[in-house]
């Protein structure tokens, strides 16, 4: 079924009887060409592009719970490609370009809104670093603009720039960055994949891999064995747990990142603002909630919830630059499990086991990567070769010393 305004009008006039499920609920088959483990944004996008761009057939996505229930369902919805390093920037710019055409591509309004992202600058050293980054972005074909305080004040007149502990000296803006209705991304990809024959199988937990003579033949699941020619793992915060079933230890830790939303408010935030001197970033959803977050709680966790000191830390950062938000109320706090890698950058690579492929280590930046991650993982699965924008995301980069460390924090995941 094709969605359109006309279709909405027609259904409204005929009692909404014509709407059908956005995706089927099929029984798993005994064998697929490609099985994707993880019905989150990355897994669904992988299946979608495998079917749509790489001509693959007989694909299944296995999801332990309900699709879109991982980090694609619990993030702060920001998209951007304001990266510094060669290994990252082309990939994230590719992702941003995919976002730009995504709604028309998968016929679903994910409310992609390029309302701009702004990183505030407080010191000369920060200005130097952001200048280097902005230049790297432009040299990679992305957009970047250095804004003056006056330009920033025009957009955010209530931003506290003076009399502040960290006075604001300017900001690096990426106008093509913005926000997306996150759940709709999972649903749009699921619907698009399903319509191209992908079996999306919910409530199907992978309990083990069947590996013989160094080749992975399929997966044991809560719904029986499912054979597969190739298996792609895209399970974010559960990566270590899943891959341990193939006796792999990964260069990552799972950490909790909290995020927050306020009660609905009339529009005050035109775009996304990031306050690096504190731990705070914020945007406003179309529904009116201020959506904000900050740093990781900092300890390994699979609990999907955090603690009060981090909440306070984030709100302190918020009040430092937006003291007008003091009387807005925080409505809900939640935690997601981040697959924090050892250099803050992801992995999209084959494993040492034939037929077993891995996608993970997205840290807290996985949402914006969703389209490119799916596309590049599909490329790897279909062609057994990395997509040109994802050649650096290898397992062996740590062993060989080719880290992609944007923040320069080294092998301590909670600092990335």
């Amino acid at each position: 079924m094709r969605y359109s305004g006309l279709k909405v009008i027609k259904e409204a006039l005929t009692g909404h009887k014509g709407w059908t499920p956005a995706w089927r609920d099929p029984e798993p088959q005994s064998h697929y060409d490609i099985v994707i483990i993880g019905g989150g944004g990355h897994g669904l996008a992988t299946a979608y592009y495998l079917a749509k761009e790489f001509g693959q057939k007989r694909i299944a996505v296995l999801e332990k719970g309900w699709i879109g229930g991982g980090n694609v369902g619990r993030n702060t919805t920001i998209i951007r490609s304001n990266y510094l390093l060669d290994g990252n920037e082309p990939f994230y710019e590719f992702s941003l370009k995919l976002w730009e055409g995504l709604e028309q591509d998968f016929n679903y309004n994910a409310m992609i809104s390029q309302r701009g992202i702004l990183n505030l600058i407080h010191s000369d050293a920060q200005r130097d670093a952001f200048t280097r980054r902005g230049n790297a972005m432009i040299l990679n074909g992305a957009d970047a603009e250095m804004l003056t305080v006056r330009q920033i004040k025009e957009r955010y007149p209530y931003l506290k720039t003076d009399d502040a502990r960290f006075p604001i000296k300017g900001g690096l803006a990426q106008h093509r960055g913005g926000t997306v209705r996150h759940d709709a991304v999972a649903w749009g990809y699921a619907r698009g994949a399903d319509s191209r024959g992908v079996d999306i199988i919910q409530n199907c937990e992978v309990t083990g891999f069947r590996i013989e003579n160094g080749t992975c033949l399929g997966v044991e699941t809560s719904r029986g064995f499912i054979g597969a020619g190739k298996i792609g793992c895209a399970v974010a915060g559960s990566s270590s747990r899943l891959m341990s079933k193939a006796d792999m230890r990964l260069p990552m830790e799972s950490h909790v990142l909290q995020a927050f939303v306020s009660e609905g408010l009339k529009p005050v935030m035109p775009g996304v603002v990031t306050f690096g001197a504190g731990h705070f970033y914020c945007s406003q959803s179309d529904k009116g909630g201020l959506v904000f977050g900050g740093d990781l709680d900092g300890y390994n966790s699979y609990a999907q919830r955090g603690n009060l000191p981090t909440v306070e830390d984030v709100c302190e950062g918020g009040m430092a630059i937006f003291p007008a938000f003091g009387r807005a109320r925080l409505l809900r706090m939640w935690g997601g499990i981040m697959d924090m890698s050892m250099d803050g950058s992801p992995i999209i690579d084959k494993t040492h086991i034939d037929g077993l492929y891995f996608n993970g280590g997205w840290c807290y930046g996985g949402f914006k990567a969703t389209p490119a991650s799916g596309y590049c993982f599909a490329h790897l699965l279909a062609k057994d070769a990395p997509h040109p924008t994802a050649t650096a995301y290898r397992f062996d980069r740590f062993e060989k010393g080719y880290m992609i460390d944007e923040k320069g924090m080294g092998n301590q995941p909670n600092l990335h």
Binding site: S240, S244, R249, L250, E253, S301, Y302, N307, Q412
Partner: protein, 95 residues
């Protein structure tokens, strides 16, 4: 969270800085033939369990002890707290 410091009693975890897996105590022998591989695995690979995890916390706003805290990553329950130095000795790091 509250960490029951072996010397100081219960302290709020906000007084501490977290580092990660207590296997970081087990630094390999620099002169071993396999030192390159050993150090790579030591520095980069983690069990990252969903469950009990021995991990290093530094009492930064306190007495500057490094502690090994045994904590469940699913529930955040803490079952044991030891001075890292004692753990290091037990693991044979006395020279």
């Amino acid at each position: 969270m509250i960490i029951d410091h072996p010397l100081l009693g219960p302290r709020d975890s906000a007084e501490f800085t977290y580092m990660g897996d207590a296997k970081l105590i087990d630094r390999p022998d620099w002169q071993a033939a396999t030192a390159a591989q050993d150090f790579y695995e030591y520095a980069y690979l983690r069990d990252n369990p969903a469950g009990w995890h021995e991990e290093l916390w530094f009492h930064e706003a306190g007495d500057r002890s490094w502690l090994v805290v045994t904590r469940n990553t699913l529930t955040h329950e803490i079952s044991k707290v030891e001075l890292a130095r004692d753990v290091a000795r037990r693991r044979g790091r006395s020279t």
